[in-house]
């Protein structure tokens, strides 16, 4: 029994091995990778919905190159090891391109595998500069970079808000800390950084750090991280009688932020891409998405556009071969829900996409 079990197991593996991947005739497979389970699964769902919408639209029009698109979801659980496994799985199944991953810490190790397999990867949300700085020719992103975003936030703080004393808080993630460091770097000499401190993600009690912030009495509080911690931080700060406004990035640009923080979020700033309401081409996306899935998450539209860029490029290249598709993507001038997207040599979008938003009467509104 004992060793037979092991044998049986190995047989199972063998059977699994014979089921080799590859493009089936008549179908083009596209990978969509992100955290589909786990605490941040909502980001994964937003991404998947966005990509699904794009796939459905293309399939309704008859597919790409006359072939139906098949969407293959990949769950990286926001964990690098799983991301590598997903990437290998995609490579083995011969997907024509990948939208994702979400976390930079997942996108970076996965990109190496896509690079080796010659698969185009368009990340919808990984903003860490390192991703495209690796110099892989197959890696693109439709979102911005943390250094651009940090600069945008710092410029706004210095030029518009004219702050002199800032507290910088981050959540010790690749994203949050990287963003916070870029922000600090771009503040210039006229601004004093009173506090630069990390908090623990997943914690609920930020009263010690809030007390600290209050005691240094800054003009502005920067937060590098996502809404789960951001909302609590704002709320606990205001509950302790704090008055300074917060500024954050794309991570806190979410309805959830407003729900968690409640009225305390009023007056909070966030750097993000421009309002899609102002982009005529986004109208269709917003309507269709709402019809199918409800209010879009902030990254749904990025995933949607990333998928569309992929499909359009495959269509234009006349095949799924990475060698043919990659130059097309690099040269693309795509006009989608996010407006015009063009890539530079690294694979980043050419125009820095960041503007500043502000919470006014319980809603994020773009600061004109």
């Amino acid at each position: 029994m004992k060793k037979l079990l092991v044998l049986g197991l190995l047989c199972l593996v063998m059977v699994g091995c014979t089921k080799k991947g590859g493009q089936e005739a008549g179908v083009i497979r596209i990978g969509a990778a992100g955290q589909l389970t786990g605490p941040e699964a909502v980001f994964g769902a937003d991404m998947l919905n966005g990509v699904t919408l794009a796939v459905d639209e293309w399939n309704a029009k008859g597919g790409v190159l006359g072939k139906k698109i098949e969407l293959v979801p990949g769950d990286d659980q926001a964990e690098p090891r799983q991301a590598v496994a997903v990437a290998n799985k995609f490579a083995a199944e011969g997907v024509a391109g990948v939208v994702g991953h979400f976390n930079s810490s997942c996108s970076i190790p996965a990109s190496e595998i896509y690079h080796k397999a010659g698969i185009p990867q368009i990340s919808h949300a990984s903003t860490n500069p390192k991703l495209t700085d690796q110099g892989f020719d197959n890696v693109f992103r439709v979102c911005g970079r943390d250094d651009q975003q940090g600069k945008a936030a710092a410029d706004f703080a210095v030029q518009k808000l004219k702050v002199k004393r800032v507290a910088v808080i981050h959540d010790k993630t690749t994203y949050g800390q990287g963003f916070a460091e870029e922000f600090k770097k771009n503040l210039g000499s006229g601004v004093e950084v009173l506090l630069f401190e990390g908090i623990t993600k997943g914690d609920k009690d930020y009263s010690p750090v809030v007390t600290k912030i209050k005691s240094v009495n800054p003009d502005l509080i920067f937060f590098g991280g996502i809404y789960t911690e951001g909302g609590l931080l704002v709320k606990q700060y205001k509950a302790m009688g704090g008055t300074a406004p917060f500024i954050g990035g794309d991570g806190i640009m979410s309805e959830e932020m407003l729900k968690i923080g409640g009225p305390a979020t009023e007056g909070t700033y966030a750097t993000f891409g421009p309002d899609t309401k102002d982009i005529p081409s986004a109208k269709g996306f917003n309507e269709n998405y709402r019809k199918k899935y409800g209010e879009p998450g902030v990254y749904s539209v990025y995933a949607y556009d990333a998928a569309n860029i992929l499909f359009q490029s495959i269509q234009a290249a006349g095949g799924t071969d990475g060698k043919k598709v990659l130059p097309v993507i690099r040269a693309i001038d795509y006009n989608g829900a996010l407006g015009h997207i063009r890539f530079d040599a690294r694979g980043d979008v050419k125009e820095s996409p960041y503007v500043v938003w502000k919470v006014e009467s319980g809603k994020f509104k773009q600061v004109k």
Partner: protein, 301 residues
């Protein structure tokens, strides 16, 4: 500043203490660390959320009395949670009575994973936001800011601790729990139904954890399915700090841990906030394994 940190620490310490009581009670009767206890706390918080979101559907005359409603929410959540505790013991621990130490610990880990994912699947992975209820305005007195809710939480946790103290020392069942912790064999000889006592212990511990869960949910306003891990570990540290198996010890340990964390994060760095808890845990275990109030140093295995 110091007083502010102290107050922050006491607020969070109260919930640590409530959860720690569950660990301590169970450890007392079964000599077992109920690793899934943190998840019960998490389920309590989630039940609180579900019940509070039912409030708008209540008849209007009830809705006027918010305090009463909140009390009812806490109570119902706690009762359902104590049933969770009952089933947890029945499914994961009872069949393993007398098995090697490792076995129930692993089944507890299994239960922990199961409950976490059960809640994740049913409640969704994203944070659930409690509706803004009472007393979120800041009150400042002598340089210390706090909210009404904070005071309510501190006082309720103290009241609950008084309740459990009364339960253990003054009621028949409570005294049976005490007797079973001292010597299960003797307890069974004098006619105490040890199975019942164990079930009741789990239920009492879960009751307190659920109360802590709902209160924390109200206080921070946002909960999710991962709440139980950190909360559980911290509370366990508190229980060990006070001397596991020792009821007043768990209470003092909870408050102490909350205050130490708040002061550590406040005066040193909040980046290492969790490290303080673990360092204290290791230091206490190594230098005073029985905890601050514990007795019989080395024999506890």
């Amino acid at each position: 500043m110091f007083l502010q940190h102290l107050l922050n620490g006491i607020t969070i310490g109260g919930s640590y203490a409530l959860i720690a009581l569950g660990y301590t009670l169970v450890y007392g009767v079964l000599k077992l660390i109920n690793f899934a206890h943190g998840e019960i706390y998490m389920i309590g918080a989630n039940l609180g959320f579900i019940l509070i979101s039912l409030i708008p559907a209540m008849p209007p005359f009830l809705q006027g009395n918010l305090i009463l409603l909140l009390l009812a929410v806490v109570l119902v959540a706690a009762v359902i949670c104590s049933l969770y505790g009952y089933y947890l013991e029945k499914i994961c621990y009872r069949p393993l009575r007398g098995a090697p130490k490792l076995t129930p610990l692993i089944s507890a880990l299994g239960a922990s994973i199961f409950l976490q994912n059960f809640v994740m699947i049913s409640m969704g992975a994203k944070d659930r936001i409690f509706p803004q209820t009472i007393g979120m305005q800041a009150i400042t007195m002598g340089g210390v800011s706090f909210t009404l809710l904070q005071l309510v939480i501190i006082f309720s946790s103290i009241a609950l601790m008084a309740l459990i103290y009364w339960f253990i020392n003054r009621t028949r069942l409570g005294i049976a729990i005490k007797a079973t912790s001292a010597d299960p064999y003797m307890a069974s000889l004098v006619g105490i139904n040890v199975d019942t006592v164990i079930s009741v212990t789990f239920m009492a511990g879960s009751f307190l954890a659920a109360c802590a869960g709902v209160m924390i949910g109200l206080y921070y306003g946002s909960i999710n399915f991962t709440l139980g891990y950190l909360g559980g570990i911290k509370a366990f540290t508190a229980a060990v700090l006070g001397g596991i198996g020792n009821v007043p010890g768990a209470m003092i340990g909870g408050f102490l841990l909350g205050v130490i964390e708040a002061l550590g994060a406040g005066y040193f760095s909040s980046e290492y906030k969790d490290v303080y808890a673990f360092f204290i845990l290791i230091a206490v275990l190594v230098f005073r394994p029985a905890g601050l109030l514990g007795k019989g140093a080395n024999e506890r295995a």
